[in-house]
Symmetry: C2
Subunit: 270 residues, 2 copies
């Protein structure tokens, strides 16, 4: 089995693939577009994409791609993100003058970095920052990335768990060509558009509230070419084949201009 | 009057300041944090911040800053974003080998750039890309930015309106230290949190639907330190001092754990 992810080897997404799938081949891609494309074109069997971080919020690009590509959500996985300060072996924390990483990782370690009193420089990727550091042979620079990235490039971890807020989780979605029918507790993700009229979103949410269906997430995205009209993405507890959910979606289709089920899948615990 | 914006002189935000305020001093800031700080510290009288683009979606960082800073929304403005291909005077389109701009501008002109068959390179800012081009003296590179940026740096516009989708608008918000009480048609922006229970968002929206108050936008952002709990940002038609709105907000305060009015302000037309 071949599973695509965005980023360099050692990325948090790659870690999430091994946690979720076990022994598979993880296939690195440059962009999220390339990740989706690799599954659509049958180059990969599935992909694992980050959809939301508990501190930084949604990865909106992936919401857009879920709509554009005709793929299905088949699972979810929560990864606890633990950032490491990584440098060349033999280097001490006091030798570090500069720290590089992805802007989001730098921001999540902002208080730690302020105390360290170093120059901060954003680069394109977390695991990529370790790769760049290795190639540069720079003994006074450290990178911020996963333990896995440090091991992969034979680098030293100066400190682990340097994020300012410990409640740092990323929710990943498994994306594949065929839908699944989950047993047991499930989640369903849908996307829809509504007429731009007063009260339509309230009516749309009523199809769930009237049936005691629990929403776990609502996200709005711009509808291309129709300024200030929106796509709504909703996640809720339940599977599309359950009677209650089937009726709710049927009811929603009366109100929605467009409605698509992106997938029902086993609910993961954090 | 001194109004802060994020970006280099010639930025779309600067254009929006002159459109909205007329003759004022526009004060460029490096980051959105610096923009908010310049108003809070009384260095500037107001700021104009982009909050949403009709193609790219919300500028989530500014939603976070609206909550963090104790400032008020006092107005809104819609700017039609028209991208220009900009090069040194005397250069023709056929001489161009490379195009630089902010990643969002590059993406909004993706089809145009594909037809041009050039190398594409993201840089930190649209107006900044013209500044960089000017400083580089590179005759084979073009930048994508506003007409204003081209004029400011004495550069030539090779083509105007090169965006793939003409429905390209950015909504800006005026932010200042004191709230305003708008006459005439108004909008109000609020932020609130809810108990994580089934149906609470539906109940929250009911306070508006039951009073025929029209929502224009809903946005969710992560609540820091409480994974998968959310802040909800809502814009609706009406001013906080109107009886109907006052009652709706009073009703919402029964359901919300936290509720803050970010401001009522005159509604702008697109």
């Amino acid at each position: 089995m071949r599973v695509a992810f965005q980023g360099e080897p050692g990325a948090y997404s790659e870690q999430a693939i091994f946690d979720y799938f076990g022994e598979v081949k993880a296939h690195p891609c440059e962009s999220f577009e390339a990740v989706f494309e690799s599954v659509a074109s049958r180059d990969c069997d599935a992909a694992l994409i980050p959809i939301e971080n508990s501190l930084a919020g949604s990865i909106h690009r992936n919401y857009d791609l879920l709509l554009r590509c005709d793929l299905h959500i088949a699972g979810e996985y929560f990864l606890r993100v633990r950032h490491c300060l990584i440098a060349f072996p033999g280097i001490g924390k006091k030798d570090i003058r500069r720290v590089i990483s992805h802007p989001q990782a730098l921001e999540q370690c902002a208080a730690y970095l302020r105390a360290l009193d170093v120059k901060i420089e954003p680069v394109y990727d977390t695991a990529g920052s370790v790769k760049m550091l290795k190639e540069s042979s720079d003994q006074t620079t450290a990178a911020i990335a996963s333990r896995r990235a440090a091991d992969m490039y034979g680098m030293q971890i100066l400190e682990e768990g340097i994020e300012d807020n410990m409640e740092n989780y990323t929710r990943f979605l498994v994306v594949q060509r065929e839908p699944v029918t989950p047993d047991g507790e499930a989640k369903t993700s849908i996307v829809f558009t509504l007429k731009n009229q007063p009260g339509t979103l309230f009516k749309a949410l009523s199809v769930f509230a009237l049936r005691d269906i629990d929403l776990t997430k609502i996200e709005s995205r711009p509808l291309q070419g129709q300024p200030w009209d929106y796509l709504f993405y909703i996640d809720f507890i339940g599977a599309a084949h359950e009677e209650k959910v089937r009726r709710a979606l049927d009811h929603l289709s009366e109100l929605a201009l467009m409605l698509r089920v992106l997938g029902s899948y086993p609910r993961a615990s954090q």
